[in-house]
Amino acid sequence: MSSVAAPPATDLAPRIYSRNVDDFAIPLGREEEWRFTPISKIKDFFDVQDWASIGCETGSPFVEIVSIDDPRLNDSWLPTDRASAVAREGASQAVLVSIPTETEVAEPIVLQLTSTMLNNYAHIEVQTGAFARAQVVIVHDSNVNVSGSIVAQLGDQSQLTLLSVIDAEEPVRQHWHWASQLGRDAEFLGLSVSLGGGIIRTVPHITYTAPGGSAQMLGAFLLTGQQFQEHRILVDHSEPNCTSNVVYKGALSGEGAHSVWVGDVLVRREATGIETYELNRNLLLDEGPRADSVPNLELETGDVLSAGHASATGRFDDEQLFYLQSRGIPESVARHLVVRGFFVDVLAKVNDEVLRNNLMKRIEARLGMVDHA
């Protein structure tokens, strides 16, 4: 097993990069990166168990189910926390999407994840060769527990859109590490849609292996009732002239719903001339929920084009509702318009109209909204 030297540690960068589970202590909940997480409810995610491995159904010739030991899997990616190290160790197979050099795939490649057991490890890898273009859509509709990773490795000047949809009921627990590595001038668009679930924690990391990469990481999440979701993003700028744009929008309703968004952006000394922006907006649909939002920007160089962040959490605006209703629009339709409007800039990035409408329908269904379209 080959490995790469870990980049120098900073406040925001992970301290440990390793495939060895025991290199990571079992989280206690006091650690900065775990302080919001209900650790006691995912204790079984921290030791290798006898769990199944996620498979997938797809009609695409670019997708294969391979052994976790397959030499084609990216060995430059290393887990950065105990959960992802356990998942890598415990998985017996991987879903490998491989787009050859200079290949442009027009239709979205849809991976419908499949599972045979209640508890599962997952390892999904997407590799794009130089100049390749593809859209990969990962849909997971089974109500099962998953601990896994989505590793994307973008070749020089390749373009990848990666959309992952989790739409799960309340008891479901899922932990997903995303690692996206961008080659020279590569363009990455990540879209993470998380609806429902008992505990959903996603940890997307974006890194650059050469100058000129541009990454967008967008998220839409929705919680009701007693649900918990945490989205902890790290953009690690280590190369010059790259860009990153992180936008997460969450809507919450119900007593006990709790979301956490942490957006860490690290701009290392050598990452000159970069542009970065991160935004989190949360919409509280009633008085019950709690949304934590923590943007962190660590600049080791002042030589950047722009660096900014914004975060805001607001109540559903009764003035908006009044305005729409005063134009004859019934309350339920008015709410539907406002929530749709809230997510529209994130969902607008989904080029495929069928997919976009499908996502909106899922959101509305989770909100218990009837369709008036």
């Binding site: 009764d318 305005y323 729409l324 209703q325 134009r327 004859g328 339709v333 409007g341 809230f342």
Partner: protein, 252 residues
């Protein structure tokens, strides 16, 4: 023929400091085909009256009644009032992120007319109405009121007035924030609407300027939560020269 009848209306707002009464016995009738101007100093409760007619949830009616052609307006939800034929052009129109003007207007017109307008005729209707108000067609794709200038917001309100064709329209300070050219365009929009529909108009304003373009039949002076004097158009002229001091003194 429609008439909006307001009788001895009292309304309060709940604030952190407790309940405070803002409307203190308003009585007023607006008939089809007539324009009633309400003029009064800042903070006298004009917008509150407009909001209470439209059903804003912040205000509580403590006594009195509002009826439209005999139907109890106070028993209706906000959207029911609109569908019954009431319209409020707001002093401060609300921004709605992510909702385009065209989607908003079409949803509204669908609710008001009871069926979705045919796409082709609708697009033309909307385009023509925007052109009448000298609004650039690109506004259709913009989000409702988002980033609109004060004047653009007012044009957008009057655009809605024309498309929604209410029986009774309340226009709250539609003239504020408009330069003279824009004032003419917006006033023409209101006058076109009046001629086309014979609707009743309740025109709330601070200044007599707009009354040169939209002729009132009746002028009410509104001070401290109630109407203190009613007269013809000449009353507006005397307010222009004398201001509200006379009435403020009467109140004290």
């Amino acid at each position: 023929m429609s008439s909006l009848v307001i009788t001895d209306l009292h309304a309060s707002v709940i604030t952190d400091a407790g309940e405070s009464e803002i409307l203190r016995g308003v009585s007023l009738t607006v008939e089809s085909g007539t324009t009633n101007a309400i003029m009064g100093p800042n903070g006298s409760g004009k917008s509150t009256l407009a909001y209470v007619i439209a059903g804003h949830p912040k205000y509580t009616v403590t006594s009195g009644s509002i009826t439209l052609d005999g139907a109890d307006v106070l028993a209706m939800s906000v959207d029911e009032r609109a569908r019954a034929g009431l319209f409020l052009a707001m002093q401060y129109p609300v921004e709605i992120p992510g909702v385009s003007v065209s989607n908003f207007l079409r949803t509204s017109v669908t609710a008001l007319r009871g069926e979705a307008p045919k796409l082709r005729t609708w697009t033309k209707e909307m385009k023509d109405s925007m052109a009448d108000l000298q609004m650039d067609p690109s506004f259709a794709a913009r989000n409702v009121n988002e980033g609109f200038s004060g004047g653009e917001k007012k044009r957008h309100e009057i655009l809605q007035l024309g498309l929604m064709q209410p029986k009774i329209a309340v226009l709250d300070e539609t003239d504020s924030g408009l330069d003279v050219d824009a004032l003419k365009v917006v006033s023409e929009g209101v006058n076109r609407f009046k001629e086309a529909t014979d609707a009743g108009v309740l025109l709330i304003t601070h200044y007599t300027r707009i009354l040169r373009y939209i002729k009132p039949d009746v002028v009410h002076v509104f001070v401290d939560g109630r109407i203190v004097e009613t007269g013809g158009p000449e009353l507006a002229d005397s307010l222009e020269s004398e201001g509200y001091e006379r009435f403020a003194a009467a109140k004290a």
